[in-house]
């Protein structure tokens, strides 16, 4: 499986519980890969450890078990090769919009001249439609604009892997829709490898090539990998008319409502340990016959 650009193997996070010797396992045996240029979303209920997985990928958190290998090298500690867009934007409020980006660009390419840095930063600000507000402080921008700055900052550093932690979670539906379209546009241009957390099933289908589904925590795991077989370029308005859209959507919703619970926790542990190091079952509800039960598609990808 080393053919994947990013390879996550046997990842687990456990917290020592106060007093007791039994550690709390948030998730374990997480195995999946991300290909170069692929847009992967991960969905799961709160508490299943999605954010922890993302933080481990970013190098901000440490796994209790398992490794993350990117480009043949083990991930340890944060790096400019892995850009992060945080849910709460994480802009430095004492810096202007432009300086929030030049700061990152400067860190990425320390040898660049001042003009080069500004020019490069402005290019990405324009890409997210923020030309003209570059001198404003983040507090003078709306939530949507702030998240655009954050996205521009991440894309401007051109990381090999972009990690997004529920980037649109705090935005209203209209703004979210607009920024999703912008994100698609930028992604089409750059073919940036993206790993994104979301709670929004429609958002996941619109944006991703593949959707990873996690069972409920504790002892959560990555149970399925759902192919989104809808051709690109996609747009919010057209995608819902594609025949595969509702098949995929129903599959995801069914997983989140019913199966994420059934598959979760210690009840499944024995069964689970048998397929320990394999990747999650690959499912393609979009191209499947409508009547076929889901279980037919389950197969080990390893």
């Amino acid at each position: 499986m080393s053919s994947h650009f990013v390879e996550v193997q046997g990842l687990a996070k456990r917290y020592p519980s106060p007093g007791g010797a039994q550690a709390l396992t948030v998730f374990e045996n997480a195995n999946f890969g991300i290909n170069k240029g692929e847009f992967v979303c991960i969905i799961g209920h709160s508490g299943c450890g999605k954010s922890t997985i993302l933080n481990i990928l970013a190098g901000l958190d440490e796994a209790s078990d398992g490794v993350v290998i990117m480009n043949g090298k083990e991930v340890s500690g944060p790096s400019l090769e892995r850009g992060v867009v945080f849910q709460n934007y994480s802009l430095l409020p004492w810096r202007s919009t432009l300086k929030n980006i030049t700061f990152a660009v400067q860190a990425r390419w320390p040898g660049w001249s001042r003009d080069q840095v500004v020019e490069h930063s402005m290019k990405f600000l324009e890409l997210v439609g923020l030309k003209g507000v570059e001198q404003r402080k983040p507090s003078q921008l709306s939530g949507g604009m702030r998240q655009r700055v954050s996205i521009a900052r991440a894309f401007a550093t051109q990381p090999q892997l972009l990690l997004m932690d529920e980037p649109f979670g705090a935005l209203d539906a209209l703004t979210r829709g607009m920024i999703q379209e912008e994100l698609i546009k930028i992604w089409e241009e750059t073919h940036q490898t993206v790993f994104m957390i979301t709670h929004d099933v429609d958002e996941a289908i619109l944006l991703s090539d593949r959707i990873l589904l996690m069972t409920n925590g504790p002892q959560a795991r990555v149970a399925e990998s759902v192919q989104v077989s809808i051709p690109r370029p996609r747009s919010r308005t057209d995608i819902i008319h594609h025949p595969a859209y509702y098949k995929i959507r129903n599959h995801l919703v069914d997983f989140l409502v019913n199966r994420s619970k059934e598959l979760s926790g210690s009840a499944q542990r024995q069964d689970f340990s048998a397929v320990d190091s394999t990747h999650p079952a690959v499912v393609d509800p979009g191209t499947a016959a409508e009547t076929a039960p889901t279980i037919t598609y389950r197969q080990a990808a390893g």
Binding site: A58, G59, L60, G77, P78, S79, L80, R82, G83, V84, F86, N88, S90, L92, P93, W94, F103, A104, A107, R108, K137, S139, T157
Partner: protein, 276 residues
């Protein structure tokens, strides 16, 4: 409406001030003995022996006189108010900046390192509540110079609010911003200066503002003890001279200078403030 609010506030302030000064003036200058002198008074030479607080008009007259020539120097016990305030300001600022020099780096260290926080916290907690004047005898013995001892007392009282606020500000920089520094591979120095310092700056400046306020409170008492020069010494000296008008005048001046110091620090902290 904004303008009218400040205008109305100014009117109320003026009315209150006039009322206060009027009552004070009325209570203290209206004592005019019209009755025939008693036997005792005759024995005492006829003068009113009752010491009275001088009325504001007297204080005002003295203030005009003193402020008209604030820098005269007619010997050790007769210097202008400007010179006395200058000495006090010199001591306060020297002690304050020396304290900042020590408190800011140590505060940074305590804020960044949980180990240093735990290790240094007991010392800070014991040293902080000590009245700065309690250090005076020890300072005089070790330093053997009253001027430097006064500066030391200012130093020791300014250090704690700055140290504690710096440590608090640094320790409570939002993890998101630290993560931004980490994901951009900033080194420890870059992180300190580009992220932590600007993030903690408003809290640090608040600590400095508290410090300078306390230092100005303490300098008066310290100078009463060490004597020689300074506004504290001036107050005590005029008390010994039983010149209450000068005492009241210097009290007002202490208030004015303290306010100016606070305004100065306040405007500096406005420069580093940010809105989230």
């Amino acid at each position: 409406m904004h303008k009218s609010l400040s205008f109305r506030a100014a009117v109320v302030s003026l009315v209150l001030l006039t009322l206060f000064l009027g009552i004070w003036e009325g209570l203290n200058s209206a004592v005019k003995d019209k009755a025939p002198l008693s036997e005792y008074e005759l024995l005492m030479g006829g003068a009113s022996q009752e010491a009275r607080v001088p009325p504001p008009s007297d204080v005002f007259r003295l203030a005009m006189e003193e402020l008209g020539n604030p820098f005269y120097d007619a010997g050790p016990n007769d210097k202008g108010i400007g010179i006395q305030l200058g000495y006090s300001l010199y001591r306060v600022l020297t002690g304050f900046f020396l304290a900042a020099l020590i408190a800011l780096p140590i505060g940074f260290l305590v804020g960044m390192s949980p180990l240093m926080h735990k290790a240094l916290n007991p010392f800070i907690q014991v040293l902080r509540p000590i009245s700065p004047l309690a250090w005076m005898p020890l300072a005089l013995f070790i330093i053997k110079d009253s001027e430097t001892s006064a500066i030391f007392v200012i130093f020791i009282c300014s250090i704690w609010p700055m140290l504690i606020n710096t440590a608090f500000g640094v320790a409570n920089v939002r993890q998101d911003w630290v993560n931004v520094a980490r994901t951009h591979e900033l080194g420890p120095l870059q992180t300190a200066f580009q992220v932590i310092l600007p993030a903690a700056a408003p809290t640090i400046l608040t600590g400095m503002r508290i410090s300078i306020g306390i230092a100005w409170l303490v300098i008066v008492a310290a100078e009463m003890l060490v004597g020689g020069t300074g506004i504290g010494y001036y107050v005590w000296n005029e008390w010994n001279n039983l010149d209450l008008a000068s005492v009241i005048f210097s009290i007002v001046m202490i208030g004015m200078v303290g306010m100016l110091l606070d305004i100065a620090l306040g405007s500096i902290s406005r420069l580093v403030e940010y809105e989230e």
